[in-house]
Every structure is written in C-alpha cells, then in structure tokens.
C-alpha cells in the first residue's frame, strides 16, 4: 500500500471503548472511570466517543447484564466534560426504544448508532427519523455484515439512508470479514448511496484484521472508522484505535487525533482497567472463524463453566445455528442442550 493512495483523505474516528468495552468489562466500568477515559480521549482530539451499556440504550437487562450505573448517569457525567468531542450512544430497536433515545439526548448525547442486524434495516425507521428530529448525528449501523452480501448490504443501507441516516456503517460484529469482504460491501454502498451520505466501518479484531479491514474500508470509500483504545471491546476487541491511528499517520490519512496522547490513554488508563487481556485467544479466534457475534464470548465462557461444555463447542454450535446479536439467552439454552446430549445434565421433567 503506497502512501499516495490515501494521502490527504479525511477520516472521522469514533472511539468505542466506553460502550463496546463495557462488554469486556461485564458492564462494570464506573462513572469515574468513564469520565477519566472520555476526558483523556477528548484531550487527544478524538471527535466522537461512544458511552453507556455495551448493548446501548435500554441494554440493562438479565439478557445483557446490568451496568454499575444507569445509562443516563454515564452520559450526564461525561457530556459536560467534553471540550470538543461529541458523545454518542448505541440504540438497537427491539431492545431500546425512542423513550431511551430521548432521554440520551436530554442527558447530552448528540450522535447515535441505530443498529439492526444486516438484513433487518426496516426495524429502524421510527428511531432514525426520531434521531434526525432531535438533530443528532445519525448512523444506520448494519451489524453482522458478513451475513449479507454486497448487494444486500447496499439495499439495506439505502433503506437506512431513506429513513434519514447521515452515515451507513458496515459492522463486522463477528470479526469474520477479510479485506476483500469489506471492500465489496463498502464499494456497493458507495455506488448506491447519495454522495453526501457517509460510510463507516466498525471492526472486531477476532481474526487480527481490524486495522487491515479499516484501511480497506477507507480505500473503498469509508470516511468514518470505529475503534477502541487498546482494543477494549467485545471478543478480541475492536480495531485498536491507537494502532490504527499510527497506520493512518504513516499513510497520510488525516484524523486530527494526537497519536502519542492516544498511546498514553491506551497504556496508562485502559490496559490497567482490563479484567482480562483483550486479545486473540482460542475462544475469540473461534468467534471470528465461525462468524459468531463477539459479545457472545464472555456469556459462552460462563455457560461453559456452568454446564461443563467447552466454550469453543458452544460458540461453533451457535454459529452453525446462525444466532445473531441479542440472542444471548440462546447461549445458555444451547449449552444446556449440549450438556444433556453429552449426559452431563438431566432434564428437570
């Protein structure tokens, strides 16, 4: 890849460590930690910072875990401290509702990822329209994008745009995609979307492809990239933002973010916060290889321990059954069914 290729391209970075990273922290990041991290990211010049529960607004549940504080508490604490960054949130229709969107806005959120599975964009028209009405920077976020082909993604993106999305994201929730998969999908979107509609890419690092995929996305026309400082995110984490930034700097891609400051946030604040090293290991690699939703990782480990079936076996089975984000209950269910089949568990009735 030559420098001239992308030199001078402007890309907006969006940090996920305080939202996707909540998955890796079992939703236990405190308000104080969130303010500390967000303030440091703001100081480094990161323009968008996503916060709250890993599953977004409305995420507090038995299904997805309960965070230490309400989503409103996190937003209210972080938003007033930002000097330049916009605070963003995630909203998954079917989990969060417009009531929660309104409350996120009232607390200071000004940008939103409205997320649907990559074939179900038509569950989001109400929410996208409402975000626009509120005046928020609005993204239509197509999750598990490897499960729809380029043509399908383009059609779904077009729907998101028609509801009012400023930006359409290809979201590699399983960390499954390879650079050509990303290019095909982003290229197809670029062909059908209006020139003023931006395209984004959200990667997971389960196959170690977060950075290469993000660069491929920019080559195909993306101008927004999600990542997490030190990779703090679900599965093997998101595209590690400071590493990606270093690559951008070398390639002449303009982000406006200070590399050394971002490195310091990663090393001095995020890494010491981690409960486990967020990295490609046997189970997170299985996610990427089998195309399973990254958030399933810790749930599968817990179910594995509870019912005595290896996490990898459970994850492979979930991939085979084509379970998607939000079906965390099916992890327990699948582990129980497998435990019964293996004679490890007796049915109650």
């Amino acid at each position: 890849m030559s420098e001239s290729n992308l030199k001078g391209r402007k890309v907006i970075l969006h940090d996920m460590c305080l939202r996707d990273g909540m998955h890796a922290k079992r939703e236990q990041i405190s308000v104080e930690q969130m303010v500390k991290v967000a303030t440091a990211l703001d100081d480094a010049g990161v323009p968008y910072i996503q916060v709250t529960h890993g599953a977004g607004m409305g995420g507090n549940s038995l299904q997805h875990g309960f965070a230490l504080h309400s989503n409103e508490d996190y937003i209210r604490a972080v938003a007033p401290k930002m000097r330049q960054a916009k605070v963003s949130v995630l909203l998954i229709p079917g989990l969060g509702t417009m009531r929660e969107l309104k409350s996120a806005y009232d607390c200071g959120a000004r940008s939103v990822h409205v997320a649907t599975h990559c074939t179900e964009a038509d569950t989001a028209p109400q929410h996208i329209a409402f975000c626009r009405e509120l005046g928020m920077d609005t993204t239509g976020f197509l999750m598990m994008a490897h499960l729809n082909d380029a043509k399908g993604i383009a059609a779904q993106g077009k729907l998101m745009e028609s509801y009012g999305a400023h930006t359409v994201y290809v979201t590699d929730s399983a960390g499954y995609m390879l650079p050509q998969d990303v290019k095909d999908r982003i290229g197809a979107l670029r062909d059908v979307l209006k020139p003023e509609t931006e395209i984004g890419f959200h990667g997971h690092h389960n196959m170690g492809m977060g950075i290469a995929n993000s660069i491929a996305a920019i080559e195909a026309g993306a101008s927004r990239i999600d990542g997490s400082v030190a990779g703090l995110g679900a599965g093997a984490g998101n595209t590690p933002l400071e590493v990606f930034l270093a690559v951008c700097d070398r390639m002449g891609i303009e982000t406006g973010v200070d590399l050394f400051k971002l490195m310091d946030v990663a090393e001095d604040i995020i890494v010491p916060m981690m409960d486990h090293m967020v990295r490609v290991d046997r189970d997170s690699l299985t996610l990427g290889f089998a195309g399973v939703y990254s958030t399933f990782l810790l749930h599968a480990k817990r179910a594995a321990e509870r019912f005595g079936v290896p996490a990898r076996d459970v994850l492979v089975e979930l991939g085979r059954k084509k379970m998607i984000g939000g079906q965390e209950d099916m992890i327990i269910d699948t582990a129980m069914t497998m435990a019964k089949q293996r004679g490890l568990l007796k049915d109650v009735a």
Partner: protein, 324 residues
C-alpha cells in the same frame, strides 16, 4: 350449530392466518376480510377462501355490518389506526379483538385471565378468576403481542408459586414471519408486552426484548423467560406450575414446548428462574417455524370463541357503543 359471524381487518400475515383458525372453529365463521390495497395477495387469498372483501378499509365494511350480522371483528392492522377502527365498529355493536399493540382494551392471555371453568382442573392459586367475567363484558380486548402470548403464561406460572419482582422475556422471531406493520412499530410491541408482563403476568416490573433472526432455513420461534423471585425459589412447585401452564397453552397451540429449564441460578440481581421455550405453528398460512403467528391468532381465536359461546348461550349481549 349457529356460528358467530366475524370480520377480519388487515390482510397481512396475521389476518390471513386467522382465516384458517376461524374456519376451523365450531362457533365462529369468517365472513369479511378488510384491506386497503385491491391488488394485495391477502385480499386475493381471502376471496379464494370464500370471504367477502373490501379494499376500502373499515369504512368499506361498515355498510354491511348489520346486513351480514357481523358480531366480532379482529383487527390486525396497526396501533395507529386501531382506535378509529374500534370506535366505528363498536358503534355498530361489533365487539373487537385487537391484535395490534394499541391495547386500548383489557389485555388478554387466555390461560391466565380467560381460563375456562368448565373443562379445566382448578389450579391451586387463581388470582385472576374474577377478571374473566369482567373481560367478557368488554367491547374491546387486546391480545398484546405474539411475544406476550408466548411468555406471559410462564411468568404467571412462576407468580402463582411465589412473588416475582422482575420478569424479562426475549422473543426470537424468524425474519420471514415478521410483517411490515410489526417492523415499523417495534417500540409499541416492546411497550405493550412489557406492560402486560406486569398487568397480566403479575411481575412487579416487566421488560420485553425482541430479536428478528433471518437464518435460512428459518429458525422456529424461541422465547426465553427470566424471573427474579423475591424469595429463594420453590423449585419443585415452579417446575410443576410451569408444566401445568404449558399444558393449558397446548390446548390451543399444540406446538408450544419447553426446550430447557426451569433452571435456577443465583445472579447479582437475585434468584433467577429461566425457562426456554419454542413455539411451532400449525403451518396454516406460513410454515411451522412461524409459531409467533400461530400463538397470536390461536389466542385471538380462543378468546373470540369464549365471547361467541356466551353470545350463543344468551349470556351476554353486544350493545352498540355510543360514539363520543
């Protein structure tokens, strides 16, 4: 035997599946199908199945209500137009079974608050008994949502054993079984179902989550029910109560099955009871994976039958509701 004549409003997935269910009923007869698009597949199919149709919406039905002696209408349109539909038909003395999330009438889950006295063994604790007579005097009852019909019986089965501070349900639906109305109004689905977990299920707080899964071949409808009990769960009685409730639901949805659980865990929120269900449909309109369609239409049909039986027995009379 005399049958009560019915109109179906909304010619989508739910309305079409209802035709099959009502045609099999000993006390109900489908007579009219109301749509808004003359070219729609649903109206064509209804005509083929022998129903009268109009593409003029409810207004196209109104002139025929008295002549055709329509006494019960099923509304499978959307929350936004339901109130108006209901007002117009109630004014002509037609009682309304609401399958939208509008929920302007009382919420109804047949084995929980419409349990029949005649053919059921009395259960030990029947807190909802008084409600049945009250419900049968209503001109509009609401069927909540497919997720509500599939999960609230289980919530209530646990509540019958001991108090539940919080209940959460997750409904996974196959993409092909979820029509445009539900998709465009997911929030209403969530609000109505959450509310019904409390009002009908009996949990102090309820939360509902819906997932639409596009897997091909389509996944069968799955439902997970989590309850947090106030006291340590009486495991044996909960298992027994859940099994008894499943039998009740199976009377009108034979494919309602327990896959796993009840499983009992201590979690940070307290004592968690989890039950994992699946719902296979009868395959009337959509294939059997679309259990969500069946549990909604079968519950609506079951509810309408209870009204019809009372009307036929002369126990209740439907009176026109004055327009206000």
């Amino acid at each position: 035997m005399k049958k009560i004549r019915c109109a179906l409003i909304g010619s989508g997935n739910i309305g079409t599946d209802l035709i099959y269910k009502i045609q099999r009923s000993p006390v109900l007869e489908p007579v009219w199908m109301v749509g808004i698009d003359p070219e729609s597949e649903g109206l064509k199919r209804a005509r083929d199945m022998g129903l009268k149709t109009t593409a003029e919406g409810v207004d196209g039905l109104l002139p025929h209500v008295l002549d055709d002696n329509i006494q019960i209408a099923f509304d499978a349109t959307s929350a936004y137009v339901h109130a108006e539909n209901s007002r117009k038909l109630n004014a002509l003395g037609v009682m309304m079974i609401d399958l939208t999330p509008a929920a302007i009438g009382p919420l109804c889950v047949p084995p929980v608050n419409l349990r029949q006295h005649a053919d059921n063994e009395p259960l030990p604790d029947r807190p909802q008994d008084g409600a049945r007579e009250g419900l049968l005097s209503q001109m509009n009852v609401n069927m909540i949502s497919c997720a509500g019909q599939a999960t609230i019986p289980i919530v209530n089965a646990v509540v019958q054993v001991q108090s539940v501070g919080y209940a959460e349900i997750i409904a996974s639906l196959s993409s092909r079984s979820v029509g445009p109305g539900t998709r465009a109004n997911l929030d209403e689905f969530t609000y109505t179902t959450s509310n019904a977990i409390e009002k009908v299920g009996g949990a102090r707080k309820g939360k509902a989550l819906a997932i639409i899964n596009p897997a091909d071949p389509p996944m069968i409808m799955r439902n997970t029910i989590y309850c947090i009990t106030d006291e340590a769960p009486d495991q044996a009685r909960i298992v027994e109560s859940v099994q008894a409730m499943i039998k009740e639901v199976q009377k009108y949805v034979p494919g309602y099955k327990r896959v796993n659980g009840p499983v009992f865990d201590e979690v940070p929120q307290g004592h968690r009871v989890a039950v994992f269900m699946e719902v296979a449909g009868l395959g009337d309109y959509l294939p059997t994976y679309a259990g969500n369609l069946d549990i909604m239409t079968a519950a609506a049909c079951r509810t309408a039958e209870m009204f019809a039986e009372e009307i036929l027995a002369g126990k209740i009379q439907l009176n026109a509701v004055e327009a206000v």
